[in-house]
C-alpha cells in the first residue's frame, strides 16, 4: 500500500504522466476550438492517424523534424476544411461527417504507408525529438526532472494551451469564435462571416489534432505503426466535455488522464496483486468517466454546437 502511494512522489512518474498527456493536450485543444465554434469534429481519431503518418513520413524521407510537424499540421488543417465543406457549408450531419473523416483519413494513411513500404519487416525509424533538459529546471524538486525529460513538442503543447486561452478570452477573434458557437445569427448581424469563422476554427483545431498524432511518431516513438493511435482521439472528445470547453481545464484533464495511465502501469508491477491486469488497464478510462460525470453536470456547452447555420433561416 505504501508503495502504491510512494509512486506519486517520483519524478519519473510525473515525467511519464506528462509524456502520455502531451498528445492528448494537442487533441483536446483542437476539439475544443472546433466545438467552441459550434462544430463537433469526430474526425479527430483519423486526423491523429494522418498527422502521425505524414509527420513521420516527411522526416523518414529526409525532412527536418519541424518540417514533419508543419506537414502534419497542414494535413490536419486540410482534413478539417474537408469536414467543414460538408458540415459548415452544406450543413450536413456533424456526427456522420466526422466519423467518415476518421474512416477516410485512417484508411488513406494506411494505404499510403503500404504503397510507400510494400514489403518491410519493420518500418523505417527516424531520429525523434530529444529531451531538452534545460539547466534552470533541474533545481526544482520532482517537477524539475519531470519537465526536463520532455521534448520541444511538449513545450509546444503547453504554449498552445496558453495561446488558445489568450486568443479565446482576450481577443476580438476569440470573442467572435465563441459567439459563432453560441449565437451565429448575432455574429452574422455584426457583419462577420459565420462560415469563415467556423472553417477557420476547423482548420486550426484539426491542425492541433494532427500535432497530437505527430507527437506519437516524432517524440514519443520513432516510427509509425498501424493502429498506434489506439483510441487517443476519442479520449480527447471526452476530455473536451470534462474541460467544459476551457483550455486551462483541458490541460488539467489531459494531465489527469496521463497520470492515471502512468499510475496503472506502475500498479500492474506491484507484487502479490490479486487484481487482474484488466482492471488496471480500465482505470484511466473509468476515472475519466467518473470525472466526466461530475464535471459534465456543470458543463456550459456552446449553445449552437452541432447546429448548422443556414443564412437567412429563422
Amino acid at each position: 500500500m505504501m508503495e502504491a502511494l510512494e509512486i506519486i512522489g517520483q519524478a519519473s512518474f510525473w515525467a511519464a504522466a506528462i509524456r502520455i498527456a502531451a498528445p492528448l493536450i494537442f487533441g483536446v485543444l483542437g476539439a475544443l476550438i472546433c466545438e467552441r465554434a459550434g462544430v463537433l469534429n469526430l474526425g479527430i481519431e483519423g486526423i491523429f492517424v494522418a498527422g502521425a503518418m505524414t509527420g513521420w513520413l516527411t522526416v523518414s524521407m529526409g525532412g527536418d523534424l519541424w518540417l514533419g510537424v508543419a506537414v502534419a499540421a497542414l494535413v490536419g488543417a486540410a482534413l478539417g476544411l474537408l469536414h467543414g465543406v460538408f458540415t459548415v457549408i452544406l450543413g450536413l450531419s456533424q456526427h456522420v461527417t466526422g466519423l467518415s473523416i476518421t474512416l477516410l483519413a485512417t484508411s488513406t494513411a494506411y494505404f499510403g504507408y503500404r504503397v510507400a513500404f510494400p514489403s518491410v519487416t519493420t518500418p523505417p525509424v527516424i531520429e525523434p525529438f530529444a529531451p531538452l533538459n534545460p539547466a534552470w529546471l533541474s533545481a526544482i524538486p520532482i517537477l524539475g526532472p519531470a519537465l526536463g525529460q520532455q521534448t520541444a513538442l511538449v513545450w509546444l503543447a503547453f504554449l498552445c494551451v496558453a495561446v488558445t486561452a489568450f486568443v479565446l478570452s482576450r481577443t476580438p477573434l476569440g470573442l467572435a469564435l465563441r459567439a459563432v458557437g453560441d449565437n451565429p445569427a448575432a455574429v452574422e448581424a455584426q457583419g462577420l462571416s459565420v462560415t469563415g469563422l467556423r472553417m477557420g476554427a476547423l482548420a486550426a483545431g484539426s491542425a492541433l489534432m494532427a500535432l497530437g498524432g505527430a507527437f506519437l511518431t516524432l517524440s514519443a516513438f520513432n516510427s509509425f505503426f498501424f493502429g498506434m493511435i489506439n483510441g487517443r482521439g476519442w479520449v480527447c472528445i471526452a476530455l473536451t466535455v470534462f474541460a467544459s470547453w476551457q483550455p486551462g481545464k483541458a490541460l488539467l484533464g489531459a494531465l489527469l488522464f496521463g497520470a492515471f495511465d502512468a499510475y496503472q502501469v506502475r500498479l500492474q508491477t506491484l507484487a502479490g496483486s490479486v487484481v487482474p491486469t484488466q482492471i488496471f488497464l480500465m482505470l484511466p478510462y473509468l476515472l475519466s468517466i467518473l470525472a466526466l460525470v461530475l464535471a459534465a453536470r456543470r458543463a456550459d456547452y456552446p449553445r449552437a454546437l452541432m447546429k448548422p447555420y443556414i443564412k437567412g433561416e429563422r
Binding site: 519519473s12 506519437l216 514519443a220 516513438f221 520513432n222 505503426f225 493502429g227 489506439n230 508491477t269
Partner: protein, 340 residues
C-alpha cells in the same frame, strides 16, 4: 439491404469473370516458366491476417509463404489488418475466388472460421488457433516457441545483476502467457532469486505505451526487459539496459541491446502443409508441434558478444537436452503475475 448485397454480389461475379479472363492469360503467358515445365501446378494460397504483416507473429507466416512463392510452389494473395468483424467475409471471398489453401488466425473468430471451412470442404484451411482441428479440412497451428523462450529465460536469469526482470506483453492470452511463463521458468531454474515485473498493455500495436511500461520497469530496477511488443527494446536502448527478443530477431535494429531472442520459424509447418495439399493427402491436424525446436519450428538467436561463454555453454547443453527429448518445457497458459 439484402437486395443491395445481392446486387453487389452480381457485380462482383461480373468483375471476377473479367479477372479470371486476365488470370487465364497470365497463366498462358507463364506456361514457359520452370514450375509448370516440371508439371507442378502452383498451389493457390490466400491468407487473411487481422494485423499488418509487420506484426511479429504474422510476419513469420508471411515470410514462410513468400519463400514458397519465390520457389514457384504457390501463388500467394493476402489481406492484412482485417477486422474480426470482417474476417468471415474476407475468408469467404478468398474461398469463392478459388483457393486451394487458406491460411489465417481464427483466435477471435473460431466459430465463424470453422463455419466457412465447413462450407468449402474442398479447400484446405490452416488457421492459428487455441483449439483443435476439425474435420474435414480445418487444421490448426500456433507459435509453440516456449522451448527457446525457456532458454532465453536462462540467459536472462544468469545475466541480470539487479535480479529484476521486466516483461511487457500485449494481451494476457495463452499465446503470450505461454512464452512468458516458459521464460520465467527458465530464469528461475538458474537463478531462484530473480523477480519479475509483468504488465500488459492491451494492444498489439501501441509502441509508445509499451515504451512507457518498460520505462516504469527500469525505474523499478529492472536491468533486462522481455520485449514481447515493439517499443520495449527502444526503452531498453534509451535507458542502457538489455532486452530479450521474442518471435523475431531484431538484434540488427538494436545493436548491443538484445541478449538473445526466441525465434519462430513457420517454414516447417507451411512446407509440410503445402506438400500435403499438392499431394492430395491434406488431413485436419494440429500442426502446433511443427513449431517445436525438434522440427526446426523454433530457434534461439544469441548475441555472443553480450552473453558470457559459461552461460552460453549451459544454454547449449539444455538446448541439446530439449532436442534429444530428455527435457520437456512446461506449457502453462495462465497469465503471469508480478513477483517483485
Amino acid at each position: 439491404m439484402d437486395k443491395q448485397s445481392r446486387a453487389s454480389g452480381i457485380g462482383l461475379i461480373g468483375r471476377r469473370r473479367v479477372l479470371q479472363l486476365g488470370g487465364g492469360m497470365a497463366l498462358a503467358l507463364a506456361a514457359g516458366r520452370p514450375a509448370s515445365a516440371q508439371g507442378a501446378k502452383p498451389i493457390k494460397v490466400a491468407a487473411v491476417y487481422t494485423v499488418p504483416v509487420e506484426q511479429q507473429w504474422v510476419s513469420r507466416i508471411h515470410k514462410a509463404l513468400n519463400a514458397a512463392k519465390d520457389r514457384g510452389e504457390i501463388t500467394y494473395k493476402w489481406s492484412e489488418n482485417t477486422a474480426n468483424t470482417d474476417y468471415e467475409r474476407v475468408m469467404r471471398q478468398f474461398a469463392t475466388e478459388g483457393s486451394d489453401l487458406i491460411v489465417g488466425e481464427s483466435f477471435a473468430v473460431e466459430r465463424a472460421a470453422r463455419n466457412v471451412a465447413a462450407d468449402f470442404p474442398k479447400i484446405a484451411f490452416l488457421m492459428g488457433s487455441s483449439f483443435g482441428p476439425t474435420k474435414p479440412n480445418y487444421s490448426v497451428f500456433d507459435n509453440y516457441i516456449h522451448e527457446p523462450s525457456y532458454l532465453t529465460g536462462m540467459i536472462a536469469g544468469k545475466t541480470t545483476k539487479s535480479n529484476v526482470i521486466g516483461m511487457v506483453g500485449g494481451y494476457a492470452i495463452p499465446e503470450v502467457s505461454r512464452l512468458m511463463n516458459a521464460f520465467i521458468e527458465g530464469a528461475t531454474s538458474v537463478n531462484p532469486d530473480v523477480k519479475f515485473l509483468v504488465t500488459f498493455i492491451n494492444s498489439w500495436y501501441d509502441p509508445p505505451k509499451a515504451k512507457e511500461s518498460a520505462f516504469a520497469m527500469v525505474d523499478k530496477k529492472a536491468d533486462i526487459l522481455y520485449a514481447e511488443r515493439f517499443g520495449v527494446s527502444d526503452a531498453a536502448k534509451e535507458r542502457g539496459v538489455k532486452a530479450i527478443g521474442n518471435v523475431i530477431d531484431t538484434s540488427a535494429q538494436y545493436p548491443g541491446v538484445i541478449l538473445a531472442s526466441a525465434l519462430w520459424h513457420m517454414e516447417p509447418t507451411i512446407d509440410r502443409v503445402l506438400k500435403a495439399v499438392s499431394g492430395g493427402s491434406f488431413e485436419p491436424a494440429d500442426y502446433g508441434p511443427y513449431s517445436y525446436m525438434a522440427h526446426g519450428g523454433a530457434g534461439l538467436a544469441v548475441d555472443e558478444k553480450l552473453v558470457p561463454k559459461e552461460v552460453l555453454d549451459l544454454v547449449k547443453a539444455k538446448e541439446k537436452e530439449i532436442l534429444d527429448g530428455a527435457f520437456r518445457v512446461n506449457i502453462n497458459d495462465a497469465p503471469p503475475k508480478s513477483t517483485a
